[in-house]
Symmetry: C2
Subunit: 596 residues, 2 copies
């Protein structure tokens, strides 16, 4: 029952009207020519692939799942063929480095490809997403020779990649890992240990699987400073770089999960497996973090993609389903439930959040594009700090939103949402993991308030605050927005960003002597940043309505209502979040362990 | 990995210290003697049954599910034996009328039996819960002869019951149902139609299944006023009342659901099935509502029970799992994650909400007990109005809390929460349905603001408001509570109930001319009532700490922290809810159907 309609029109409005992407790419001297027509063609083609190839196998993939026999994982029927089509069409190389066969498209478009992939088939997308992460790590940290050997086939998708971090006793705290690496020959190490929760650890989609494994060398200092990163391929390469003998890395089990069932999640055992050191010894955690930041944005977008699919299904159902009279109904019989206020509430919540998240993902993609090409170190630092500050917000706020949106989408369908038929319950199950992996959302919140706020004494935040202030200025002085709307929203936004600012200064001061404060209020603080950021995006959308090419007057009216709804019903949460943060840690930390 | 430990100590504190139940039952002349010892014995025995018989088959039931072959539904292995033990031990007759073989225990204890059943095995509990609903309907609306024939074996559990309301095109709007009833002989009707989402519609646990079916007689007025209720048994009875021939009611399919997989959810087809009119013609909707109100409380408790199980598992895991240093840690290695503030936040949220919900379920049970025995019509009306006002709050607020709590419980376990192993993901899936069935939580919110608030012009609310004011008075004047805590909480509670009161008066005034207002703010309004109610419960707990028998000083300290946490971090939501309500309907109702 559930089909995927790529939201091309909304994407085009955002890319072309709100962000004027071709102009922007031109300004930053982006090497690949990306004009309006090309962007539209990409959107159309990506949308077609997702809706025609990936969406149709999504439910079946959930029902059949992956299976493990004789160390081999079989993906659901049709996934192998879809993967082949995916790489044949060049999607796996979309934003990768042309030097290694990539197409070199900007990050600000990659985020939209990610969104569409996640909307149509999030399990499928994960194989690709992890490969992308491995490519990112190798491109930034491996030697030129290693890059030449491994990158082209990872980028083409002939091979896939994984990230092997977690062990059964070491998740968040990677300093505890026990996997070892012993030098056995020039540049060759023997890897021993067991990793869990390895996405795409074993499967039948690609010819080889390139594991990036965190392990400790014999002379490693204790904790996270003693972690190194190794390439451990499923098949070793012969001297010509062709597939050779099977390496001693095997899948011991696959996990039975709540969702993303077509994605194989493996226990991987390394028994004297051959591995090759990436970059320098003991730098693994740093390399992993640079990859993780990339992955965090992509996993955030999983939330946005699933929310979009859930929204589409909910709207379809709500237009069809006739129950009871709505207020001011003039019909004789019952009305479609989309006319009922409480249903509208859920749909408006979904749509106003989804579009804001989508805009912000492109916006952050643009900052990454800027940074990648910046010649001026201070401009580069500016973008990097902004991206560093907002990456945990994107990961957690998008995925929290995504899960809540999918639950709204299920609720709109009532009992029909709880059964398989319309696909809504699968979306809820698939969305739930995104709040957990790549660092739980609690960890994102700690990262934001600890490393990204307090550690640099508010330096990164300052750049975000300046952007928020500029957004406010833009709204406040925009005479194309109806005056009553503009004044009201301007004052709402001012209240919210002032509250955020006051909270930041309070935290910088108070957390010096209150060791448990930051951890206690981290989650509230992240959400406060998230809603201000999203509201800022709505301002950009409003300011782009005049003379927009991809938004007619009726759509412009929708945009104004959606923005107003976001301010009235979501941004308003700043009152709660601020009050809750100011209540601090005292009631939270009172109970001792044995009192639970 | 997940075991169930009945929270006997907390239950005893609430029953014996907070509510002094034996004294209360004595005061209202409850016919069954229920002293302190008996209550403790009941808690122990019910807890033992749930933890030793039902909890061990819960996960297996989820994995195996129900299956349909040749019109017969088979429940998972072990369910038949557990059901037999359940009815042999007399639990099915716990609060039923002694006139028909029930044990006549009070509703204020039934709610705790319900909680423990749902904690340990919510799928199993549903077979019983629906039977209870059928018993309730027949006891209140069927003729004496019908009661004598059907009730004893429903109450003993030899037979089970269902409620057949929903049709594929008629869920919330029962006026649309198409199932027909044609008189064919004295007191016998021929029932034709198809019902969906019928819990326990077909299974192998009981000897007979007694369906209560909503259908329309040939002369029925249109809409809900034309609905009548019929008994349609799976097996007809012979003249001696023994099982006779098979009736023409059959299970056409079972649903594939997100959770509660051991509960059979059936499509039921009635093809000239024989049925018997319950009570009077065209009164079916009234009868169904009286049963539904009973069921709504019970389904609300599903949320509480599942939250409790999730909390227990989360605490077990959080005490075991070592990751990273906590603030002010003095240990050499990593700390158990229970010492980390963001984990404490989730556990405190769960526990402070669960206990408040548990207290309020007993409190509402006591009001039902009072009403059942009240001689004075005005005292009875008082209790009935309070119960009527708070039943939708209980259903929706408990189940929203339950789902959120189970998600917190999963989050505490990180990736280990998303896989089957610890059972957390099943709880999330099982809890989700409770927000949907027995009237979605949106429908509960509409019921509260429409029928229970506006329709009687605030008359029912007034009784609740008086109770809130009395709770405030109790807190304010209690000198056993540490002064700083008392003053702070007293002012927080006053703010919240004043906000609620202002919102109520604003709604009574504004909604007269604003037809979409009530529906637009209904969900926020319900939550505002819910948090004030729960906060009131925490006041009762605080006031009972001095001289409590079932709460030592260390536990009393926990209670104070939990109460403070609830006020600081949950009750504080009243700022948000009030502000959101006052923003009204304008941004919500703007979009036309074709703009979605």
């Amino acid at each position: 029952m559930s089909t995927y309609n790529p939201p091309i029109n909304n994407l085009a409005f955002i890319l072309q009207d709100v962000f004027r992407l071709p102009e922007f790419l031109n300004q930053i001297n982006f090497p690949c020519e990306c004009d309006e027509e090309l962007i539209q063609a990409i959107l159309e083609e990506a949308g077609k692939f997702c809706s025609q190839v990936l969406a149709p196998i999504n439910r079946h993939g959930d029902e059949q799942g992956c299976s493990l026999n004789d160390n081999k994982v079989t993906t659901p029927d049709g996934y192998k063929e879809a993967y082949q089509q995916f790489i044949d069409s060049g999607w796996s190389a979309f934003s990768a480095n042309p030097k290694f066969g990539g197409q070199g498209m900007p990050k600000s478009l990659q985020v939209l490809l990610d969104e569409m992939l996640h909307s149509s088939n999030t399990s499928f997308c994960l194989y690709y997403s992890l490969t992308n992460g491995a490519v990112h790590a190798l491109e930034h940290h491996a030697s030129e020779a290693m890059q030449q050997l491994w990158l082209p086939r990872l980028i083409s998708g002939t091979w896939s990649g994984t990230m092997c971090l977690t062990e059964s006793h070491a998740g968040t705290d990677l300093g505890l890992i026990k996997t070892t690496a012993k030098p056995v020959a020039e540049d060759v190490y023997s890897i021993n240990g067991s990793k869990i929760f390895i996405t795409g650890g074993e499967h039948d989609l690609s010819e080889n699987i390139v594991h990036l494994v965190l392990a400790k060398l014999p002379d490693a200092p204790p904790g996270v400073k003693g972690i190194s990163m190794f390439i451990v391929p499923k098949f070793l390469l012969d001297e010509q770089g062709n597939l050779g003998e099977r390496n001693a890395v095997n899948c011991g089990a696959i996990e039975h999960k709540m969702g993303i069932k077509a994605s194989s999640t493996c226990v991987m055992n390394f028994d004297d497996a051959k591995g090759y050191l990436v970059g320098e010894a003991h730098q693994g955690i740093k390399y992993m973090f640079s990859m993780m930041n990339n992955e965090r944005l992509s996993i955030g977008i999983q939330g946005v993609g699933l929310a979009e699919q859930s929204y589409q299904t909910a709207v379809d159902y709500a237009k069809e389903r006739l129950q009871s009279k709505s207020p001011d109904s003039v019909s004789k019989g019952p009305d479609a439930i989309i006319a009922h206020p409480d249903v509208k509430r859920m749909l408006m919540w979904m749509r106003s959040n989804i579009q804001a998240a989508r805009m912000s993902s492109i916006w952050i993609g643009m900052e990454i594009d800027k940074s990648n090409l910046a010649k001026d170190p201070s401009a580069k630092a500016q973008s990097d700090k902004l991206v560093a500050y907002l990456t945990p917000v994107a990961k957690a706020h998008y995925t929290n939103m995504g899960f809540e949106a999918c639950n709204h989408g299920m609720q709109v369908l009532g009992g029909h949402g709880y059964i398989r038929e319309w696909g809504q319950e699968q979306l809820v199950r698939d969305a739930r993991i995104a709040q957990i992996y790549e660092g739980t959302n609690g960890i994102q919140a700690m990262d934001l308030i600890g490393r990204k706020l307090l550690f640099n004494n508010g330096d990164y935040y300052k750049i975000f605050a300046d952007w928020l202030a500029s957004a406010h200025q833009k709204l406040h002085t925009n005479h194309d927005i109806p005056m009553n709307l503009r004044d009201e929203m301007s004052s709402q936004f001012k209240d919210a960003i002032t509250a955020l600012d006051e909270v930041v200064h309070w935290l910088l001061k108070e957390s010096k002597d209150r060791s448990a404060l930051a951890g206690s209020v981290a989650t509230d603080f992240l959400e406060l940043n998230g809603i201000c950021w999203f509201a800022g995006m709505w301002i950009l959308a409003l300011c782009a309505l005049k003379n927009a090419t991809y938004c007619d007057e009726k759509q412009a009216q929708s945009q104004r209502y959606l923005a107003q709804f976001y301010f009235d019903k979501v941004l308003i949460r700043h009152h709660l979040l601020t009050a809750s943060i100011l209540k601090g840690e005292s009631s939270m930390m009172g109970l001792e362990t044995d009192q639970f």
